[in-house]
Subunit: 409 residues, 2 copies
């Protein structure tokens, strides 16, 4: 069937993470691989009540087709919520999407022709790489520093791309608790990034799944809240803060950009489920997000602490082994000595009944082989300690194997 | 922002129907425009019970991320159902999509490069035109006859496209109660279409939203059930038979094709809501579809009868005015005399508080100006009679206006 397959599909491999998650589904494996939210944080009792009520009392509405731009009730609920975070939005600046992956798909559809350049972090979110790749964009990776993207390098890369007559379109960033690296971009860098985008006439795609999950340190304003010339498009999802199974997120931008994205939405899935939209809208309106988020943050902080404590306890102290200490989000990022390949190490991890994601999956330039992403979100604190203990044993064995020159299958 | 917009987005107009539906939302207007299912057919009591139970008892599962290929429970439920219709499918031949519009998007993504040829009916479903246009395919329209696509013309067009070195990819058909024309393809034509596809090495996209809604005449086997060399991909949606708001449909094809479509699905929205999937799966398993479909068919048949009776009663008898008498589905197709433009006539219809969709929206070649689509699905029989009465008055006035040479605004 190769004759029929499109060029874009031929260039799209299966998701490495997805393949890998299948291997880690066995109950005896402690998996730090998935980026799943803790299911015990889903407000299921409240959602069960709302669902029964909506389906009995408003079935003509919630079981029917909805507006492509999304239900007004949900858009109003999220607008009210985001007003408390310095964003003053009108109804036509918000488009509901079937979660953030669709947001990425719509952004690529609307703005990226084959060969167009999009800048993104080294490392960056795998799902974004997939969407941009599918639309045959040229992804240029910009190394991350401790306070976010290296903007000197970004400027050099912009100049270089212009020299070879590339069409430059956008910069993709996850400013808060970046997936996978857990890094947060400083205020200074955010300001400078906005200035670079203005000067170079680039859009900024600000992916914001984790900003509400800050459990330490002080919040930094979103790029969107500082966006003076309407070039930031923010992706804001409910997957991590309410439920991943509702498949709900928002594209937030100036009306003229939303108008283009809305046409893409129509052709992509017509509209998002009104039932799931109303469940979320009612929950946000009736219960508010603040109490709920406070519990989430507490829970994730304890889990992060457990993971860091276990790493400190069990990880061999050796030059070149480091990990991040994120103030929010779901992930730690571990760097091992050069020469260790976490993809090669993976079978050994499975033998020891522990799993992670190899960092190289998040690099558009083939780098990151000695890194890995660990999620602390779904396991209990006891499981985290036990899993990290196993993982550190894996690392210890791998270091030993490499030292004696053994080949690891 | 035009500099940033992709070529595909610049070439994608807003949906005419969608704009028009906004005009028809006023309660005083009797609208035959939308293709909405009758909300009184949604089994809301059962779904309310299932929803509360799933959210209380299985929240860890239904509120979490799911498999990109769709929940096994739902795929199994639809496989069991379709086995009663002559389709014997394995789990890996079924991919759950966020309703059929996403199915169309995935088909275009997977198989259509810019300039590739896809053949479709004249007229054909607007949402398909949108998806194929977005991916810059070359849509070649094939006139419909009373028993389906004119296959002699199709063969000529294939030969002609080959002469100019086009890349031919697929034929898009809605064999049962076609949207918008209400036409069903005969068994003979189905067989010949499969043979043409085999000879010419083309895929067939068989869009099947209405086959379950046959209320008269005898069922004709689906193309998929007669597909001997794995080139038919069937889109099968729950929107018209269960609920449009759940946003659930299936792509059904050979494993190698599903494998490609699955990669497209991952990049498009990662997975469909597991909550809505489980609502549908439980409903199909616990209640079965047969009783439910019997009620739907009865209901839609009565409405079709009411619409045809009203047309016979009120429509001016004039050469060139005809309408279809479909054995299923949701739509009638009305043809007015040449020289009448139903788009121009539309403001007059709104004045008379009745609405329809202009047929030209369904033509990829700019034709169909004197046609319109009428949906009999949502209005009561009384509303149908009153609405058709108004519409016939509109037609009468338009005919008179045209005769005396008045310009209609």
């Amino acid at each position: 069937m190769k004759r029929h397959t499109s060029q874009r599909a031929l260039g799209t491999p299966r998701s490495a993470i997805r393949e890998l998650l299948k291997l880690t589904e066995k109950p005896e494996i402690i998996s730090f691989a998935g980026g799943l939210p803790d299911p015990e944080t889903f407000p299921h009792e409240e959602l069960a009540e709302i669902a029964a009520d909506e389906l009995r009392g408003h079935y003509r509405n919630v079981l029917q087709y909805g507006l492509s731009e999304g239900s007004r009730t949900l858009r109003r609920a999220v607008i009210d919520w985001l007003r408390t975070q310095g964003l003053d939005l009108s109804l036509n600046q918000v488009l509901v999407t079937t979660a953030s992956q669709q947001g990425l798909d719509l952004l690529a559809k609307a703005f990226l022709d084959p060969g167009d350049v999009i800048f993104c972090g080294l490392p960056t979110y795998l799902g974004a790489i997939q969407s941009f790749s599918l639309f045959q964009a040229d992804k240029i990776g910009v190394p991350l520093q401790e306070d976010g993207m290296d903007l000197d390098v970004l400027e050099e890369q912009i100049a270089e791309a212009r020299r070879v007559d590339k069409v430059l379109k956008a910069i993709y960033v996850i400013p808060d608790f970046q997936n996978p690296a857990g890094i947060t971009m400083s205020l200074e860098k955010r300001k400078r990034l906005l200035e670079i985008a203005r000067q170079e006439d680039l859009l900024i795609f600000e992916d914001n799944p984790y900003s509400q999950l800050r459990f330490a340190g002080e919040a930094v304003p979103t790029l969107k809240s500082m966006d003076e010339n309407g070039r930031v498009i923010m992706l804001f999802t409910l997957s991590k803060v309410l439920s991943a199974g509702l498949r709900l997120a928002f594209l937030i931008a100036q009306e003229d950009l939303i108008e283009i994205l809305l046409r893409m939405k129509q052709a992509s899935d017509l509209c998002t489920s009104k039932l799931t939209q109303h469940l979320a809208a009612r929950y946000i309106k009736d219960y508010g997000m603040e109490d709920h988020l406070r519990i989430l943050r507490e829970r994730y902080r304890a889990k992060r602490d457990a993971m860091i404590a276990a790493l400190e306890k069990y990880m061999p102290t050796k030059e070149g082994i480091t990990w991040t200490r994120p103030d929010g989000g779901l992930f730690l990022w571990v760097r091992l000595p050069e020469g260790i390949d976490t993809e090669e190490m993976f079978p050994r991890a499975l033998e020891h009944k522990v799993a992670y994601v190899s960092g190289s999956a998040f690099y558009v330039d083939g780098g990151g082989k000695n890194t890995m992403r660990l999620s602390f979100s779904v396991n209990s604190e006891d499981e985290i300690e036990e899993g990290i203990k196993r993982l550190c044993q894996v690392v210890r064995e791998e270091l030993a194997a490499k030292r004696v020159g053994l080949t690891v299958a």
